[in-house]
Symmetry: C2
Subunit: 253 residues, 2 copies
């Protein structure tokens, strides 16, 4: 049996020095991988920068695939899912929704908008400006390896990245997809609703939904949701790993 686990977060480069990243530590993916090593499985472990890594296995096989950005992740996942039979995808990575397109000083942005506007078409001003903001060739080329810090106000322009989770079942329709959803400071009811929407939108089989405010060094509260609603509640990373192991073990037997 082959299991693909993603863990940690992604880094989106602003320049050679600066980056946008997230709080993900990879601790949950590590615990899940270490638990699943007790089964006779091959784990493909795709992880982001700074993720803590699982220990090498006693049984089974653990293969590592490091990635940096959401675009790296997309290509790595496509490669794995279109060339290997993967029974389970446990997609715990905190993936950036956006990648960095470019950066622009407020003065440059103002100049760009002012020089592109057609003053005679005032009734469509908002539409015009939105088009200007979205059109790549209006922007100055980003040539510096490190952004200047001369400008008082800077805009970093982000574009939506391809949704990796939405592509998984397209690449491999027969795999079982366990997605993850992280929200901050919401009710269990809201978390469940968002998990159900995620199942629909991403053709996921299960969603492990959690709230950043209920995660710390020792605890990790989470709910496991299938199309019918909550099927299990967890309080620690070890609980979550055991729950997923049981699911997979039942399928192995």
């Amino acid at each position: 049996m082959h299991i693909l686990i993603t863990a940690g977060g992604t880094d989106e480069k602003i320049d050679d020095v600066r980056k946008i990243t997230n709080q993900a530590t990879g601790r949950l993916g590590k615990v899940i991988a270490e638990r699943l090593q007790h089964e006779q499985v091959t784990i493909h472990y795709v992880y982001g920068p700074n993720a803590v890594l699982p220990k090498s296995p006693a049984n089974g096989t653990l293969l590592f695939y490091p990635i940096q950005s959401v675009n790296d992740l997309y290509h790595q996942m496509e490669q794995l899912l279109t060339t290997k039979k993967i029974d389970y995808v446990i997609h715990s990575m905190a993936v950036s929704d956006y990648y960095v397109k470019n950066s622009i000083a407020s003065e440059q942005l103002a100049h760009m908008i002012a020089t592109q506007i057609d003053h005679h078409a005032v009734e469509s001003l908002e539409q015009q400006i939105d088009t200007i903001l979205k059109t790549n060739h209006f922007y100055p080329e980003q040539t510096d390896k490190k952004l200047s810090s001369d400008t008082e106000q800077l805009f970093i322009r982000l574009n939506k990245a391809p949704k990796v989770i939405q592509s998984i079942k397209k690449w491999q329709p027969a795999t079982t997809l366990i997605g993850f959803k992280l929200l901050v400071g919401v009710s269990e009811e809201h978390l469940t609703q968002v998990a159900l929407q995620s199942i629909q939108k991403n053709q996921a089989d299960l969603i492990l939904a959690n709230d950043l405010e209920k995660i710390n060094d020792t605890e990790h509260h989470a709910i496991l949701v299938d199309p019918t609603g909550i099927i299990e509640r967890f309080e620690t990373r070890q609980d979550i790993a055991s729950g997923l192991q049981s699911l997979i073990h039942a399928n192995l037997a």
Copy 2:
């Protein structure tokens, strides 16, 4: 003798999950602190998230001050430099030039600009738009704990942060300030020019200037610049630490 070392990088929060950070590891600050512990000194070690930390000292005293953002750093440095006599400041931290003001979808930004423009004053359009971009109260309040990922294009608006290095001599004029300058892919001549400008602008006594393309796991090429030009060249972090130790040791004797 009291020495203040800053090390690692800063994190600027975009929301509760996302942040802007940099590549700094804190390795150089760690090596410098460990070397200086052989002297009878008290080290005040101000460090950012993810920085590797120096080992606890055999001699002397090592006090830790964790910070997150550039604004945290500013207040921590102000507190230390206005209340304690600090003989040397070794400011190796990679400090963000900007902090995150807010985030806005391109549609919202277009709407905001379009509704604020005075169409009759077309000759000052660029100036008007720049004013709109820079004025805080035109922006929608950022209330979500986690940004929505619904929009196709997002702008993160950054404002210039207070320059910590420029405040050090204002807080404590008699301290010896060793600043650091990191560039990417430049000539030694250019690096020296930028270091000399930094000495002037920041009232630094010395600048350790380095190039990201000449730093790896084992090597760390750098030049030490005083107002007369390059006074020493280094090839490793151990070299740099020894050079700074010699400087400080000569002053102790």
